[in-house]
Amino acid sequence: MNDKIIVKDVSFFYGNNQAIKDINLSAEQNSVLALIGPSGCGKSTFLRCINRMNDIIPATRMTGEILIDQDSIYSPKYDVTTLRRRVGMVFQKSNPFPKSIFDNIAYGLKINGVKDKYEIENTVEKSLKSTALWDEVKDRLNKSAMGLSGGQQQRLCIARTIAVQPEVILMDEPASALDPISTQKIEELIQELKKNYTIIIVTHNMQQAARVSDYTAFFYMGELIEINKTEKIFTKPDKIMTENYITGKFG
């Protein structure tokens, strides 16, 4: 099987508070996996386990194992900065650096040791093109990224992420702060990106999950209730909890 990511018995604790419980799942290469569930159910926490972004939160603890390409990413010999380069992340609120558009993308390359100016320029252009941003910004590469619209900023953040050639892209509600039109653009982009990347996306918006993903995982109170083909989840989920959530008959 071509499972890019395999998650085994993962639990995560904020202090004594267990945020996720014994999660087991796997994500196929070149597919989009959507994580849905009510607020606070642990979607973001789970996502951030995958690139060890939770490491930077003090007093937290993870148990279980996550394998990417069969390598255990929490093993001591796995370098966390390498992991994060391989597993890119896009956040809920677009967060471009207060630098020029060009430098925003070049930054990741530079800290990863790329020095060749030509190569950097090339990659910047390529990344902007693959996020359909090139035409919109090519005349203002040296202007501040803060001058872009919200949707453009978010696409810039995606471009910045793919510039360092990750294999997996994690997205934590990447479109929830955007208007419908920008949201649509991001969704189109995700569809394109899955040709080359394995994508895991957290979203509050069930329809968004339905639109963009191949698989959907439903979380509730820190537990994985159901993971299944997206179409199945949205037309005929196996679990009654999922059904109730999907149809809005919750609580």
């Binding site: 370098d79 900065t81 390498t82 800290i111 040791g113």
Partner: protein, 284 residues
Amino acid sequence: MKRKSELIQMTGFFLIRTGTFIVIAFLFLMLGYIFTKGISAISWGFLTEMPRNEMTKGGILPAIVGTFYLMIGASLISIPVGIITAIYLTEYAKSPKVVKIIRLGINNLAGVPSVVFGLFGLSLFVIFLEFGTSILAGSLTLGLLNLPVIIRSTEEALHVVPGTYREASLSLGATKWQTIYKIIIPNALPGIMTGIMLSLGRAAGETAPVMFTAAAFYTPDLPVSVFNEVMALPYHIYVMATAGTHIQATRHLQYGTAIVLISLVLTLNMAGLILRYRFRKKMK
């Protein structure tokens, strides 16, 4: 490649930690030194008696009292004016230009060296208005000096009150003043108190302006009118340390006075900081 950046990181962190350590160490060194040297001078009498024997004996009561008078006098000016100004700026001023100009004025007032305030107090209050070197002149000078402190911290406190509270209150049919009085000020109160505490501390510690406008090297009696000169703690330290006839003989009294002044100022500031801490936490 990654090894190298880890090495750079370690070096950088080491330097930063060292720098911080130096600063903290210096603080402890200073406070520790002053306290160990001066603690023996502190006694009930030291705090409650008049100085004797050309101030080589006895207590520092007049300096303490004088400092309190100056603090209170300064507050009477700076608190109402400061708070009202801040409310005007954040709540009423409509034209951004007016706000900008007033705020520029406040920032610059804050930046005027205290010795220049001293000069100003001297020329306006002491000489021009003929208050003489007096509590009144000193309080006015310190009050003006403190004005920006109060305005700024009050402004900050008002700004932290979410704009949505204003909108919510107005949308329920409240008038502007009702909104300010019932919603905004109560919410900003801890923040405003912080400013008051900090400004009191500052009034207690300022020397240069007091030196020109209010302070006497020695007064035999406690002041009875706002037109009296007073002794003040910081000036007292300065004078005893630099100009007295018995500089070495009064060393431990100087340390003692320093302890009193530090304690006073730190208590006020601590109170201010605690209030601010609570306030910020609550506002989050």
